[in-house]
């Protein structure tokens, strides 16, 4: 029942918010996400004490087609749930001094998104998982579409249809699996114990892979992403980049690799090759980007490319690293987009080239921005380092040269991040009459929390590893 509570709180919160108005909505949203965070913390203690058993929920939903509602939680699920519920209050808080039209709907959609994301991470039946996967798409679409910037109609539609196309392929893969299991079940445990025959695994691999590759996104399935990140309102971008793309990487580990092991092994080299190529490709593009949010979007592609490369290395190191990095990237990218939002909000200038001199007027902001950038360029003792170290080592275990190539990310990452930081924050102001008040209280709270998280998980990554290792060991055997 604990899993149901995890789902119930945000869902109820989302409905409740529909009946609130104005300033009340955001306060209510903050309180409710904090309640969910508190409950997640409680779940964490329960999990530590009693393991997954109290979270298991299994009921039959329909006999034909045979569908079970199965929620459960292992360390990896819990990690992602923690990430989701940890970031949500920060994301809500980050919008506190922004003018948001119809806030009650905005926050309601956001909490609905939280509900769906939690569902994705704790669903242990393919069908239920798929439902939540799709559910997560709808609120974010409306958030981006209704509160987005220019070109939102085309951009968000492309995003929606592109990702939905991927999901439908995944649906087909699930149908395929449903047919393939003698008991006609999509339960996770059944699927991993009942290996599909090798002839079908190629099909299954590609269906799943494309679905996840679009969501993650792995180059060349990424073209929806930069525009969407740019267009969506920042809170939406945070949700997208911080949590939603983790759905893809999470699913690689949860569904693709254990369910279709033969297929993955057969096509591993393409998957990992695309991922690694994507790292360098996106990093190089990011160097010359003049749009701040688009630059961050490409940097995000590079980072998740490394994550997926680590996953497809199919060894404990890579997967463990990917989980750490998912968590770290979730935190860092939210911070980065928030900084971009702070800048855009004050200057109305999305262009890297036209900014500068912010440090003069807003030293606190500049400092925290720097801290987040450090996390993002994987400086040791920040959360980004541990993940990247293990990921690169995981790739190294797969192939030495590939890891060297992937390792270019630490150079290129520094290049585009520092270039951006220099143009935006340092130097003399280029814009005339730039009014740039330093951080407001809510911004301070968000950025400092993120900063603390960055260092905490950089110094104590074992908290994550201890949580997830038992599960990863079972699938890397």
């Amino acid at each position: 029942m604990l899993s149901l509570t995890l789902l119930f709180i945000p869902l109820a919160a989302s409905l409740l918010l529909l009946f609130s108005r104005g300033g009340l909505s955001r306060n209510l949203a903050l309180v409710l996400t904090l309640v969910q965070l508190g409950f997640t913390a409680y779940a964490y203690t329960v999990f530590n004490a009693e393991g997954a058993v109290p979270f298991d929920f299994l009921r039959n939903w329909s006999a034909k087609p045979f569908i079970n509602v199965h929620f459960s939680m292992d360390g990896m699920s819990l990690l992602m749930v923690i990430l989701t519920n940890l970031l949500l209050p920060l994301i809500v808080l980050s919008g506190y001094n922004r003018e948001i039209e119809r806030p009650h709907i905005f926050y309601s959609l956001m909490l609905f998104m939280q509900f769906a994301l939690n569902g994705v991470f704790i669903a242990f039946d393919g069908f239920i998982y798929y439902i939540f996967w799709e559910l997560a798409l709808i609120p974010i679409y409306f958030i981006s579409f209704n509160w987005g910037g220019q070109n939102r109609t085309q951009v968000t539609l492309k995003f929606f249809i592109y990702t939905l196309a991927g999901s439908l392929l995944m649906l087909f893969a699930f149908l395929f699996l449903y047919n393939g299991t003698p008991t006609h079940s999509l339960d996770w445990a059944v699927l991993i114990s009942n290996k599909a025959c090798a002839c079908n695994q190629t099909w299954l691999f590609w269906l799943f892979f494309i679905a996840f590759a679009i969501k993650i996104p792995i180059v060349p399935f990424h073209t929806w992403q930069p525009d969407t990140y740019k267009t969506a309102p920042t809170q939406g971008t945070m949700l997208l980049s911080g949590i939603m793309l983790k759905m893809g990487t999470y699913s690689l580990i949860r569904w693709l690799i254990p369910v279709v092991p033969e297929g993955v092994k057969e096509w591993q080299y393409i998957a990992i090759g695309l991922s690694v190529a994507g790292i360098v490709y996106a990093s190089i593009i990011a160097i010359m980007q003049s749009d701040l949010k688009r630059l961050l979007a490409y940097s995000s592609i590079a980072h998740v490319g490394l994550i997926s490369a680590g996953i497809f290395a199919m060894n404990l190191t890579g997967m463990q690293g990917s989980l750490i990095q998912m968590f770290a990237h979730g935190i860092n990218v939210v911070g980065l987009f928030f900084c971009a939002d702070i800048i855009f909000n004050r200057t109305q200038n999305p262009n890297v080239e036209g900014l500068g001199g912010i440090r003069l007027v807003a030293p606190k902001f500049a400092t925290w921005f720097m801290v987040i950038i450090l996390g993002s360029v994987a400086l040791p003792l920040t959360n980004g380092f541990v993940g990247e170290f293990m990921l690169l080592f995981g790739v190294y275990e797969y192939n030495t040269w590939l890891s060297v190539f992937a390792g270019l990310t630490i150079i290129l990452g520094a290049v585009y991040m520092l270039r951006m930081y220099q143009k935006v924050v340092l130097g003399e102001p280029i814009m005339e009459n730039m009014v740039f008040p330093d951080l407001y209280w809510n911004e301070k709270v968000v950025l400092i929390s993120i900063g603390i998280l960055i260092f905490f998980f950089g110094i104590f990554p074992n908290t994550i590893i201890e949580l997830t290792e038992p599960f990863l060991k079972t699938i890397t055997k």
């Binding site: 003792l381 190294y396 520092l418």
Partner: protein, 638 residues
């Protein structure tokens, strides 16, 4: 490890050493505004505390023993455990003392130097952070902890070079430093992967224990050591990754003294000395290290001759000296390399601080062409600077003499060509250092009246460190006197346990007999004397002043052989162009176009297909009949 009671008692003070600077960083960063100028004193005190603890360790750690302990498990997965731990042994103790000692002096100096800067507290917080990372670097008991410090000092270097962030060229220099270091770091990182994969761990103990199972010269060890050396090249500014260091002089002068002369840039030498065993097992790498060192040493010295910026000269001199140290390491004279690290730390810090004092007096002017005759106005600076110059020139009995002589002697035993090249490099060093000295302090003042009026000696916080460093620049050399002069080489003796493993692997050839040694000393000293004479004749007798626009070869030299421009053309520009091409042509045009084309084709089919629906009933019925006939055909014929 032996676990004497007294050893475990040392764990706490050892762990505290890096914590003080960290505390200092937090306090000065968070409460800088409130502390105002007190933050400088506070930060210095923190370093002094660390220094005291380091001294405590130095005095209490029994000889031939080391203290190796883990604080907590940092990253632990599968059967790999990367612990966060420290190793205190003679090598790290030497570095600890140098870092905290010189670090403290430079903090003190900065209180005076940065007094009027609006970023006073910020400066000290960065400095403290730097010391923290530097301590991690030298104290770490594994390559990973060393790497933390390694990257951390890179960050501080970035922050401090770009300290005056309003100036974009400073920011460029800072960025360049960070990125070039990152290139080296990638090598380091991959090297660590090799070790982790093949040698079963990253802590020095495990690595060394497993490395000796491999035959000398095995490709694995060569690969590892080469990769580590790539890291060292970045951090210690060796060819081809040296161009960041001269640019790094954009930072405040104490930073140049501390980071870009005394401590951080020697991290590469420290790292190789630390890994002496695996390097000794890879002779090929040793050759590479040696030649890179030699070439860098000469190359940088040549460039140094034509520089006019006082700090740039010192910067190239640092690159050159680092090359010298690498050459020593490459020969296998690890102690000599380390010895030079220590003496170099003293006199180079001294020189930089002296230069800082000069710049302070000149009100920010750094170009030597507008100085001259300063000796009269700033006596302490003049004197200490002279001591530094003599020390770097290797004049007996200054510190540089002993360490440099040791390296030259070693190279003479190992490879005569190397010895000749290094000697030439030393000669050039002497020449440009005295060129610097004469241009700055001798003859008459060439600056503006305003500057002349402003000339004054620095406050005591600045001169005191100069004096202390000058004393060490004179005295430090006696720790390691050549065999001709003393039977005990204290320094080598102290470090001997560290290099025990590699000693047997390196062919012993640098202990030349006393006669040869005396001859070498003589050659070196007379070469130095000739250089001094040359410099005297050019810049004092003939009173030459470097022209603004040199011609011919000297134009190439003055422009640093256009290496920066070369890098710019073959690396930076192409990447920018590729970036644009990838974005505009590949991403937008090809990849996105495929997606959009798929959508467009679907849409186009839809738009075209709907025209079939003509609205004409006759056509509809006709189509139905055709469809019917197809069905019939399938059923009856197909």
């Amino acid at each position: 490890m032996d676990n004497f009671i007294n050893l475990t008692q040392l764990i706490t003070p050892a762990s505290l050493i890096p914590l003080f600077p960290l505390l200092g960083f937090f306090i000065t960063a968070l409460f800088g505004k409130q502390l105002k100028h007190f933050s400088g004193w506070f930060a210095s005190a923190m370093i002094l505390l660390s220094f005291g603890l380091a001294l405590h360790l130095f005095l209490n750690l029994p000889a031939n023993q080391s203290l190796n302990f883990n604080l907590f498990n940092w990253i632990k997965w599968g059967n790999i455990n990367l612990a966060f731990g420290f190793l205190i042994d003679p090598l790290s103790l030497v570095m600890l003392l140098v870092v905290t000692g010189i670090g403290f002096l430079i903090h003190l100096y900065s209180i005076g130097y940065m007094h009027h800067d609006e970023g006073f507290s910020r400066f000290f917080s960065y400095l403290n952070l730097f010391i923290f990372f530097m301590l991690l670097l030298v104290m770490g008991n594994s390559y990973l902890i060393m790497f933390i410090g390694w990257e951390g000092v890179g960050l501080c270097s970035y922050l401090l070079i770009g300290f005056w962030f309003k100036n974009d060229s400073y920011n460029d220099a800072a960025k360049k430093a960070f990125i070039m270091n990152r290139v080296g770091d990638l090598g380091f990182l991959i090297g660590m992967f090799f070790m982790l994969f093949y040698l079963g761990g990253l802590d020095f103990e495990t690595v060394n224990a497993n490395a000796i199972n491999y035959p000398a010269g095995s490709s694995l060890l060569v690969a590892i050591t080469l990769l580590l050396f790539v890291g060292a090249m970045g951090k210690s500014a060796q060819i081809p990754l040296y161009t960041w260091l001269p640019d790094a002089m954009a930072g405040p002068t104490p930073v140049s003294a501390l980071i870009h002369a005394a401590t951080m840039v020697t991290a590469g030498i420290y790292m190789i000395a630390r890994s002496n065993l695996i390097f000794a097992l890879a002779p090929f790498t040793m050759e590479v290290v040696m030649w890179v060192g030699v070439i860098t040493s000469i190359f940088a010295a040549i460039i140094g001759i034509k520089q006019t910026d006082i700090k740039k000269v010192l910067a190239y001199s640092t690159v050159s000296q680092l090359g010298l140290m690498f050459a020593a390491l490459g020969i296998g004279a690890f102690e000599s390399g380390m010895f030079h690290v220590v003496t170099h730390a003293f006199f180079k810090a001294l020189l930089f601080l002296g230069a800082g004092s000069v710049i302070h007096a000149m009100g920010g002017e750094q170009d030597m062409r507008y100085m001259g005759g300063l000796g009269k106005y700033i006596r302490i600076t003049w004197l200490t600077f002279l001591i530094g110059t003599l020390a770097i020139s290797g004049i007996f009995p200054f510190a540089g003499f002993f360490s440099k002589d040791e390296i030259l002697a070693a190279s003479f035993g190992a490879n005569k060509t190397v010895w000749i090249l290094l000697s030439i490099s030393s000669m050039m060093t002497v020449f440009y250092m005295f060129r610097l000295f004469f241009l700055t302090f001798s003859k008459s003042f060439r600056g503006t009246e305003e500057q002349k009026h402003h000339l004054h000696e620095s406050p005591w916080t600045m001169t005191l460190p100069l004096i202390v460093l000058a004393i060490f620049s004179v005295g430090a050399g006696f720790l390691g006197m050549p065999a001709v002069m003393s039977s005990t080489h204290y320094f080598s003796q102290y470090l001997a346990p560290v290099f025990e493993g590699s000693k047997s692997l390196i062919t012993e050839h640098h202990h030349a007999d006393h006669g040869t040694e005396l001859m070498l000393i003589g050659i070196a000293l007379s070469a130095a004397a000739i250089s001094i004479g040359l410099a005297w004749s050019f810049y004092v007798s003939k009173n030459q002043i470097p022209e603004d626009e040199p011609q011919g070869l000297s134009k190439w030299v003055a422009n640093k052989f256009y290496i920066d421009e070369l890098y710019n053309t073959i690396i930076v520009k192409p990447i920018m162009v590729i970036s644009d091409i990838l974005f505009v042509l590949v991403d937008k045009l090809v990849v996105d176009l495929i997606v959009m084309a798929a959508a467009w084709i679907v849409g186009f089919t839809g738009r075209t297909l709907r025209l079939v629906q003509t609205g004409n009933t006759g056509f509809y019925i006709f189509a139905m009949v055709i469809g019917m006939m197809v069905l019939m055909f399938i059923q009856l014929v197909y």
